[in-house]
């Protein structure tokens, strides 16, 4: 009877160990299996339109970094991508932003960004973006202002 009890305790212990290991392994796999990527496109200028309220909290960082007087939200795009898959976000002026997650490096997502204008690539970069971090990319001229797109990701 005592031996039977010991066997039960051992079996329960081994089962718990296996379950926990399996759960941790599956969590680790699922972490790297998909990337939630958001692109917020803003047109900044020296106009008198003020700040678009839809931009939200991000405006404080923009105003701290740039000296534009007007910030207008153009669009917001959200993509859920797996490594190697490319998601596209429309930008003003016939431009398209293509985002391809390449993988995970530590706590950062490795992303390939490419901007196309009228189907031609104009700018490409590979970045390592912190999990739940953001990068502000900007510069292209449009309608008397500049295009700023904020890319955030979580995985």
């Amino acid at each position: 009877m005592k031996k039977f009890k010991i066997k039960i305790v051992l079996t329960i212990g081994k089962t718990l160990l296996l379950l926990a290991s399996f759960s941790i392994m599956m969590t680790a796999i699922s972490q790297a299996s998909q990337f939630d990527i958001s692109v917020t496109t803003i047109l900044a200028s020296h106009g008198k339109n003020g700040v678009d309220s839809r931009i939200g909290r991000q405006i404080k960082e923009l105003q701290a970094a740039f000296r534009y007087s007007s910030y207008r939200l153009v669009n917001k795009t959200h993509k859920r991508l797996v490594p190697g898959q490319t998601g596209k976000a429309p930008l003003p002026g016939g431009r398209v932003l293509a985002i391809t997650p390449l993988g995970v490096a530590g706590n950062r997502a490795k992303l390939k960004l490419a901007v196309f204008k009228n189907g031609q690539p104009t700018f490409q970069t590979i970045i390592q973006l912190l999990n739940r971090g953001r990068i502000i990319v900007g510069g292209p001229q449009h309608s008397g202002g500049v295009i700023i797109f904020i890319i955030s990701n979580s995985f």
């Binding site: 212990g13 926990a20 970094a65 990068i135």
Partner: protein, 173 residues
């Protein structure tokens, strides 16, 4: 010449019996022994004692069986090792040790697992919390590995408050 003076020194006599004297000395002693009954008796006594001693040693050493002796010693060593192994087995696999150790290991593992689960993972899914909050405050949000394209200028900056990376480029017109 007194009789005692012609006797051979006992040490010399002992060396003669053991064959440790020079040949000329041995010859001289042999000549003396033929004339001196006292010294001859001393030599005989010495030889008898020596032979008795040798016989005793031979008798005792002949009783020792080297292979049996080795076997006995090895058997005793094995016996002691067996006792130690038994003690270790009994200690490790006794329920007093095994059950608490297993239970403790399970509890520790579960604590570690759940602390990991609730510290680093969101309830909605596998979204980390702490690494982001700590890293954002100290490190740039993005590292630029490479860039290329038809640009006239590229700048990499950071926002002053939250250290978000800014990548600024001018398109070629």
């Amino acid at each position: 010449m007194p009789k005692s003076l012609c006797h051979i020194d006992p040490i010399m006599l002992s060396q003669f019996i053991d064959g440790e004297v020079r040949p000329d000395e041995a010859e001289r002693i042999r000549k003396h022994l033929s004339d001196c009954p006292d010294c001859r008796k001393a030599v005989n006594d010495n030889q008898l004692l020596s032979s008795c001693f040798k016989n005793y040693i031979n008798l005792n050493t002949s009783r020792i069986n080297p292979s049996a002796f080795e076997t006995n010693v090895l058997a005793k060593i094995d016996q002691k090792n067996e006792i130690i192994r038994d003690k270790i087995k009994r200690l490790l696999f006794s329920k007093k040790i095994l059950v608490p150790v297993t239970a403790m290991a399970s509890v520790v593992f579960l604590l570690l697992y759940f602390s990991y689960r609730f510290t680093f993972l969101n309830s909605d899914g596998p979204i980390r919390r702490f690494p982001v909050q700590t890293s954002v405050a100290t490190a740039p949000s993005a590292i630029i590995d490479s860039f290329s394209g038809e640009t006239t200028a590229v700048m990499i900056m950071q926002t002053p408050n939250s250290h978000e990376t800014i990548l600024w480029y001018n398109e070629k017109v």
